[in-house]
């Protein structure tokens, strides 16, 4: 595991909102490394800094201290255009609000980030169809968002995050308002992509969802307080259930 490529690195990252007396620290010296093939869940109560951490990891926000690197490139050293390109090409986002465009079909929604990046229409559509197939909704390619269920829309949103060669997938409460079966399917997809070699960060306040991660880190008041990996022997766990 340690030999795997480091896809995301946060090095002693600080993020303070506002200045002077009104300054509110959101993150205070957070260091975190996520490698290829690894899914890390970030848990913590509201206001603990989870979403700030994800925004910084995805280059949607800049730290007030420390450094964020994606595949070895320091985001702080990139010009706005280069940062935008890195975001389009290497980072996939899945948000709680799906942000699908209502006037575009499923395939068009998924192809959009590629087309914005200059990929030809035909090649972008081909990649979009492959991504939709990966999340088992290839048959819905020509439907509009309002012709799909919530679970189907979320799958399309995930296909959009996975399309192309995204090496870093960032998910913020991706199961949103889905029921437990549909929510589980979403996590299954995320897990599958990570097992295929991507690095994933999952922000959630649901322990059951964090259970899908290789590592769970706990944020409290902007500081990482603990980190877990599943080390318990299966036998021990099962024996414990028979009390």
């Amino acid at each position: 595991m340690s030999a795997r490529t480091e896809v995301l690195q946060l090095r002693d990252v600080y993020r303070t909102h506002g200045t002077g007396e009104a300054a509110v620290p959101a993150l205070r010296g957070v260091s975190l490394t996520v490698r290829a093939g690894e899914l890390v869940a970030v848990m913590g109560p509201s206001g603990s800094g989870k979403s700030t951490l994800l925004a910084l990891a995805g280059g949607l926000d800049r730290p007030t201290g420390g450094e964020v690197l994606v595949e070895g490139e320091s985001l702080g050293e990139l010009a706005a255009r280069e940062l935008a390109r890195l975001r389009r090409r290497r980072i996939g986002y899945v948000f709680q609000d799906l942000n699908l465009l209502g006037s575009l079909t499923a395939a068009e929604n998924v192809a959009l980030p590629l087309e914005l990046d200059g990929v030809g229409v035909r090649a972008a559509r081909k990649a979009a169809l492959a991504a939709l197939a990966e999340v088992d909704v290839a048959a819905l390619a020509n439907r509009f968002p309002d012709q799909m269920s919530g679970g189907q829309q979320q799958r399309v949103a995930i296909a959009r995050a996975l399309v192309g060669e995204r090496r870093l997938v960032l998910a913020d409460e991706p199961t949103g308002a889905l029921d437990s079966q549909a929510g589980e399917a979403v996590l299954h997809l995320l897990r599958r992509r990570v097992d295929a070699g991507a690095a994933g960060v999952l922000v959630t306040h649901e322990a059951r969802h964090a259970g899908w991660a290789d590592r769970v880190v706990f944020l409290r008041d902007g500081v990482l307080v603990d980190s877990t990996a599943p080390l318990v022997g299966v036998e021990q766990l099962l024996a414990g259930s028979g009390r």
Binding site: P45, A207, G211, A213, D226, G242, R243
Partner: protein, 193 residues
């Protein structure tokens, strides 16, 4: 739950002898509850005493199969129809531990909470991994047992989150230090005067 009802449920499928019962029990609970053969025979003896099962003639191989009686069937039906009382479950050591941690001087309760949360989270990760690994339709009973354990672990973590939030706001009542026996003794003496 009792092993009694587990065995009755298995005998409702058809007659079985001890080793078959043990294997079937472990199969249907996904080995989450290993039984030893002694437990099986002790339980069968009690069931027979209570008229819920009856032994059949020994087979050629020297195995004695058992079958469920009408009384056993009625008992089983009642068991399935009756919800499990929460009061029947063992007392929860964790909640007792936290309650004591809160009232014992020098204990860092938040650290007790976090230590437990990490341990339970690890278990939850392991359970999820097991569930992810078994996706065949015939694994459904096993997956449902895993789900039960997953939801229990989740509930415990939610409760720990809740405890932590409550701890942030917790201030012991002024003028009434808790869990110093000497202080209580002094107060008692003063009250007596």
């Amino acid at each position: 739950m009792s092993i009694r009802h587990g065995l009755l449920a298995l005998l409702e499928r058809g007659q079985m002898y001890g080793y078959q019962l043990r294997a079937a029990f472990e199969e249907s609970t996904g080995s989450t509850w290993p039984l030893n053969i002694g437990q099986v025979y002790t339980t069968l003896a009690r069931l027979e005493r209570d008229g819920l099962v009856r032994p059949l003639p020994e087979s050629d191989g020297g195995q004695r199969p058992y079958e469920i009686t009408d009384a056993g069937r009625a008992d089983l039906t009642l068991w399935f129809a009756t919800p499990i009382s929460r009061a029947d479950r063992p007392r929860d050591e964790l909640s007792i531990k936290l309650a004591l941690a809160l009232t014992t001087p020098g204990v860092d309760v938040r650290s007790v909470v976090q230590t437990q949360r990490s341990a339970t989270m690890r278990a939850l990760q392991e359970l999820t991994r097991l569930k992810f690994a078994s996706d065949k339709p015939e694994d459904l009973p096993w997956r449902l047992v895993l789900d039960a354990m997953i939801f229990q672990a989740e509930a415990e973590i939610r409760w720990l989150d809740h405890c932590e939030t409550s701890l942030v706001r917790y201030r012991p009542a002024p003028g009434r230090p808790i869990s110093h026996p000497e202080a209580v003794d002094r107060a008692d003496e003063e009250a007596r005067r």
